[in-house]
Symmetry: C2
Subunit: 107 residues, 2 copies
DNA sequence: ACAATATATTGACAACTTTCGATATGTATT
DNA sequence: AATACATATCGAAAGTTGTCAATATATTGT
């Protein structure tokens, strides 16, 4: 059974700030919380921590401690798998577009 | 109207009932509202109408009147395009589907 | 042990969502 | 035009979410 739930995955992505965090992690690789907070003049540190918690719980980011910092990084594999699931669930099979190497026939 | 917004797309998909509606439309093709309501013992007619409105506003379904009924259908093209956008936005370019051992990080 | 730094958690509040009953609007039939 | 049917909209209750200030926890250096 797929470990991921399409609904909660979409929920996790259904927020401006969380998408921005993910995209930043994709670009910059690992980042500490402070660095992320600094990049979002708009949001407080607790708010960022809250979003990171949601992203982590959904498996979209990983974290590891490095000294005082905790470094977060995009979990590319899981994001990919979730996107593939979405695709498989809703896109009618006949569409043969662009690059597909995406989905293993296994729904 | 092909300028889709990843966040509102995910928001629209971030609901159990809406995903179920979409999936049913994918399977069964066009359906009237009553038919959909009938399939969801759980939800009232106004609730289904509300969800359909959101899906339509997001371009994920189309609707047309046929006599007394209004028939809804999956807008496969847009769903596909949105999924592709998501993929492009968050999946690192060269990740090769390595069947990650699904470690859904829990707190 | 103490102070400084980095992150997480708590508690509270406003804003938004989901849901439903009641009602309105539109369409066909008699 | 009156009635029946199909769907949309309104208004309110209940639940969920995003946000922040304050506080707690963890780590490092003095």
């Amino acid at each position: 059974m797929s470990a991921f739930d399409c609904v909660s995955f979409c929920r996790a992505l259904g927020d401006e700030t969380r998408q921005a965090i993910l995209q930043m992690l994709q670009k910059k690789g690992e980042m500490g919380v402070n660095a992320i907070v600094a990049a979002f003049e708009r949001s407080s540190q607790p708010t960022i921590s809250h979003h990171l918690k949601i992203l982590k719980h959904e498996g979209l980011v990983t974290s590891r401690r490095d000294g005082k910092e905790i470094l977060y990084a995009l979990n590319g594999g899981n994001v990919e798998e979730c996107c593939g699931m979405l695709w498989a669930k809703f896109v009618p099979a006949k569409s043969v577009t662009t690059r597909t190497r995406t989905s293993k026939a296994r729904a």
